[in-house]
């Protein structure tokens, strides 16, 4: 049996050693983590228009992703009224943090991809899935109406069901060519519907067994795109 004093000293020493060593490791690796995160985010944004890119996004290296992003993408930051804000780089905006701010103070990132033939407008959206947050990037053509591609991600939707919004290329492919305005020029977004598409221009087929995640995508598209509308309007009128 060890004395109480021994146990106390042992515990304190152990805690100190472990925490100091861990702190050193975490601080030392932080630059590498941040660089990785940035590349991952940029790859994710570009994946919304992966069919329009001059290269195969999955086979290019991290370095090439960065140079492609820097060369082709113009970043614009919008405030809650859809007005461009100076001095804030779009890629530094963390949608998760913006969500916690009051609505009027939120900032929204916008990435303008200038391709050889056409320009695409990529916007970030965020919403709720079944278990946790879901988010995505929506790419619009320069008519600000036709969807050129989407990419979705999630914290922890069910694998094989809700997670299909990210994993299934067929689900994402459905969005290509859909319109977010109807013929009367009203914003209607694109809805994910179950059983029978009635308006093929504005609806895509839901994932079987993932009703709540699918509804979450519908809601996210509607609320997420809405904040960018004033910007789209101002661009269209030019």
């Amino acid at each position: 049996m060890h004395s109480n004093k021994y146990i106390t000293v042992y515990t304190v020493a152990m805690t100190l050693i472990v925490s100091v060593v861990l702190a050193i490791i975490v601080t030392g690796l932080r630059p590498a983590h941040e660089a990785n995160e940035a590349v991952f985010k940029k790859r994710d944004i570009l994946s919304a228009i992966k069919n329009e890119l001059p290269v195969d996004l999955e086979s290019i290296s991290d370095q090439e992703v960065l140079s492609l992003f820097n060369e082709r993408i113009e970043q614009v930051t919008l405030d809650a009224n859809g007005q461009p804000v100076e001095g804030v780089k779009a890629e530094t905006i963390d949608m998760a943090k913006e969500e916690k701010k009051p609505e009027a103070e939120r900032l929204y990132p916008m990435y303008i991809y200038k391709g050889e033939k056409s320009t695409f407008y990529l916007v970030s959206v965020r919403g709720n899935g079944l278990w946790d947050k879901i988010w995505g990037t929506i790419a619009l053509q320069d008519d600000f109406n036709t969807i050129a591609g989407v990419s979705f991600d999630h914290v922890t939707e069910t694998a094989g069901l809700g997670a299909e919004i990210k994993d299934s290329p067929a689900f994402k492919q459905q969005f290509v060519g859909k319109k977010i305005y109807n013929d009367e020029n009203e914003f209607v977004s694109v809805a994910v519907v179950k059983g029978g598409i009635k308006k093929p221009e504005h609806q895509v087929d839901a994932i079987a067994g993932a009703t709540i995640t699918s509804n979450g995508v519908t809601e996210m598209m509607e609320n997420g795109l809405e904040v960018y509308l004033p910007y789209f309007e101002s661009k269209k009128n030019k």
Binding site: H2, I7, L22, L29, A159
Partner: protein
């Protein structure tokens, strides 16, 4: 005098004697942590849809088990009995955090894919089980080998299960497309008349399939290994 004698006897222990080899080989078959001791099942369900993450998980778990065993064995005489489990947990948690941080810096997509499961190595019963059953009572070198053996025994099952699930569920291995319904695959079921009946089995992607595969492995292993056949 007696003390000196035992010390000499200890130093003569070979680095890779029969017993040491046994420590590595036993957990691979006769005493496998998953198929015989039935420990660590939940991570075997969760991270075995693809081979690559399964390999990373196997390596991470082996690293953690081996070095936790080594550390605890080195400290075993100084650890106060009353708080030994807490000390073990701190050592495990420390090593897991190191693995997670290094993996996040070295291969971010894999880290993202494994996400919480790396952290869950802490709760993997194999690690704690080996510390309590072996490292607390054995010398550092043997404890280290025991950790390597058990990690490898756990990892080999993980990789077999992942290979079966990825091949039959997604038609690929290590991300290399083998069989499927487009020209991207080695065997294209739309043009190859011999395999035209083939379809990937989506059940294999779901966690439940891991249990079926583990069940089959246990069955095959028990049928072939005389030591494991229950005579009663």
């Amino acid at each position: 005098m007696a003390e000196v004698e035992t010390k000499v006897a200890q130093e003569k222990e070979p680095l890779f004697g029969k017993k040491e080899r046994q420590l590595i080989i036993d957990p691979l078959n006769d005493n496998n942590p998953i198929t015989v001791q039935v420990l660590g099942i939940c991570s075997a369900l969760a991270v075995t849809t693809l081979v690559k993450p399964a390999i990373i998980m196997a390596l991470s778990a082996t690293f953690v088990i081996a070095f936790a065993n080594l550390t605890i064995s080195l400290l075993r005489k100084g650890i106060p009995k009353q708080i030994r489990m807490i000390v073990q947990l701190v050592v495990i948690a420390f090593l897991v955090t190191v693995v997670e941080q290094v993996l996040k810096a070295a291969n971010y997509p894999i880290w993202k894919q494994l996400s919480v499961y790396i952290g869950l190595i802490i709760t993997n019963c194999i690690v704690m089980g080996r510390l309590e059953a072996f490292a607390m009572a054995n010398k550092p070198w043997r404890s280290f080998l025991d950790g390597l053996g058990n990690g490898a025994g756990y990892g080999i099952i993980l990789i077999i299960v992942a290979a079966a699930r990825e091949l039959f569920g997604k038609g690929s291995l290590m991300g290399f497309n083998i069989i499927g319904n487009s020209s991207q695959y080695l065997i294209d079921t739309t043009t190859n008349s011999f395999f035209s009946w083939y379809m990937p089995n989506n059940v294999m992607v779901l966690p439940a399939a891991a249990l079926f595969v583990i069940g089959v492995i246990i069955w095959v292993q028990r049928a072939r290994n005389q030591k494991l056949i229950d005579v009663s």
